[in-house]
Symmetry: C2
Subunit: 456 residues, 2 copies
Amino acid sequence: MKKLYFFGMLLLSAVLVHAQKSEQATLSAIYTSALTNMEAYNNLRELCTEAPGRLVGSPASERAIQLLKAQVERLHPDTCYLQNFITPSWRCKSPAQAAVLYGPKKEELNVINLGLSVSTPSKGIQAPIVEVQSFAELDSLGSNGVKGKIVFFNKSMDNAFIRTFSAYGDAVEMRFSGASKASKYGAVGVVVRSLSTELNDFPHTGVSKFEVGVKQIPNLSISTNDANKLSALIKNQKGLELWMKSTTETIESAHTSNIIAEIKGSVHPEKIILIGAHIDAWFNTQGAHDDGAGCQQMIDVLRIFKALNIKPMNTIRLVLFMDEEMYQSGSKEYAAFVGKEKREHIACLESDAGGLLPIGFGIDCDNDSTIKSIMKQTATLADFGIYLTDKSHAGVDIEPLKAFGYPLIGLSTNSQRYFEYHHSANDTFDQVSRREMQLGSAAVAGLVYLIDKNGI
Amino acid sequence: MKKLYFFGMLLLSAVLVHAQKSEQATLSAIYTSALTNMEAYNNLRELCTEAPGRLVGSPASERAIQLLKAQVERLHPDTCYLQNFITPSWRCKSPAQAAVLYGPKKEELNVINLGLSVSTPSKGIQAPIVEVQSFAELDSLGSNGVKGKIVFFNKSMDNAFIRTFSAYGDAVEMRFSGASKASKYGAVGVVVRSLSTELNDFPHTGVSKFEVGVKQIPNLSISTNDANKLSALIKNQKGLELWMKSTTETIESAHTSNIIAEIKGSVHPEKIILIGAHIDAWFNTQGAHDDGAGCQQMIDVLRIFKALNIKPMNTIRLVLFMDEEMYQSGSKEYAAFVGKEKREHIACLESDAGGLLPIGFGIDCDNDSTIKSIMKQTATLADFGIYLTDKSHAGVDIEPLKAFGYPLIGLSTNSQRYFEYHHSANDTFDQVSRREMQLGSAAVAGLVYLIDKNGI
């Protein structure tokens, strides 16, 4: 009996070692497939070239949907279809303009519209300017200091943060709600310093929102170089005024779609591992890092599974969401669908941190044993440079799925370069390193493979 | 007594916690200083713009020496001087050319000289071409297959490697000794596929050497795109010949210099912690990543120590080496000087892996307890993204110092993008991310601070 037990244990450990070896061999094959294949990179070039500025409701967004759907279909997934819905939309009808005026001088400034900004009258508006670096400063100026003026929010991103997303979190409120707050004090317009870690000429856009009932005023973003120029002028010139012009349009209901595609599970087709990214990109960008690369990485996960003939036990569902940037309408639509469909999502993964070197995963989940289990899987990817998995925000598109109790997992990247590109005209295809983007495809494919195989 | 012992232990642990806290505070201050200061980045712009192609002996290399010395002197180190020496030198007198000829057709190819390549006759040479992908293939062709021909070494870098330096190591032999081996079989010229992980139009150069007694033949590098074009033509066209032209010059003795600067140690001025990088860069590059960024990081270490008023116990010696790329004459000169000077080097650090995201350090040392001690220090930098320290090659310039028993430490970076730039015209200032480069300054400054304080 003892002998039998001994041989049984020997057999078991041999089986385990074999399973581990075959797991490592599959992970290696996944990485090799990702790093030696050009399809995702060429697809990204096509997306950036053919459909830049693909904000929801735009003609470019329709081109992007067709183009991405065709890219997915070339992989022959089991299903591929559009999830159609209606959403509000917004666009710039012509590029925003601004100039600073003092004495007889007029100097043009490098500006663009912030997302959802309203129009000025067709001749623009001109008013004295007041600079603040914080909401506290705005509050201390109050109506007396702000009424009838244009407010210039000039808070820099703090380069002392090691992680740039922390610096973004620290500064983004000015852009997001600065105009709303300034409007309450009677400001007639707002200019916000670009959220960039660098001094450059690429103004950065992004969404801004007004509290309900607050008068909407036009708000622009100014490049960091011109923010410094403007700030210096304000210090040195008396009677300085700003002129700004914005021509935008809100469309109440636009037709658009998410893209959904699946590789059906061989054992539990009813259970889903979701992999997602977002299709839309700001009007002023190619959306290479944000989030063209994410879309291509997730499409590439399907390609890798197909190429290596890995038959997942559970269904792998790709969702390319429309409209992450403005209203999150695609994300809401998908969450509503999940509420009706009632199919368990084992995990929901998103890639929306740029096609940069992957360094780990961020897990958004309230269950500690689930987090521990996911961390055990990501630890398996240590040899491939995945060293930093922690509890953090995972992704805007998958966020509503947390309410169902599903664990959310976001790909984390080296963020040092991210705010050189983010939401600016500098977010172009040539700023993406093929190998860095492809390591992201591999990291997600690897983790999906492990979660599918070992569960959570 | 017991009570006294207890309080003694309490005091000791309080002192230790305080020391640890103050260590962490200093490391944070080092990172903040690096990330929020623009000097190193602006200095790099100046070096790349004013002194591109600064190969030893070139007028650009002299400009680089003057410019870097002035940058160092602005920091008011305790000493700053040139270590002058004489070295051979080599240059392209005019850009290399090549074309493929078949039938009535002649197509220009995108080529450059490999380092130390000899000239062709002024009209160039024309000969049939034979393609190989390995030395084994060359050997099997032998004199019969090679004599009188131009050999085309067309081995790609293998993208399946996770670390690109491994792929480089795997492929570099063709470039380094391909011409020498082909010449032994009677080849009249050599064209080598560029060492790039990508398909692009930036031919990559680098040094190539001939065995003593072997006839030197001209050898060029061809861009990866044109290597593919040429290979396809060879497969499909009969009677195909290659024409190539190279006009180069070797200078037997050129005057040049290393730059040395020191912050004197407050306790052990006689002991040295060396921080180094190399000044020279290939004729076809700005040398931004290789190794302008390394020079600026090491200069920045001095700036950081000065700015934070950290008084090192041991002397910090900056050595900017001339001529890493061709003859390593600066490195040999410094090693000879160390042999005479006989001052202990506690550690020798080099940065020559590009101004890319630092991820760890490579230690070149035969003493395991020394390695363990260095790893303990680098582990202190984990919160700053330093997660991968291992035993590996540390740097070409510091390599001769190993013979003295000194531990060598090289900064390791995210190498995924490196072979998009390396030794090519694509190695430009705009490819360097300020924050990534500055994290390198901080990582080296942090490790120097720890080694100086805690010893090895």
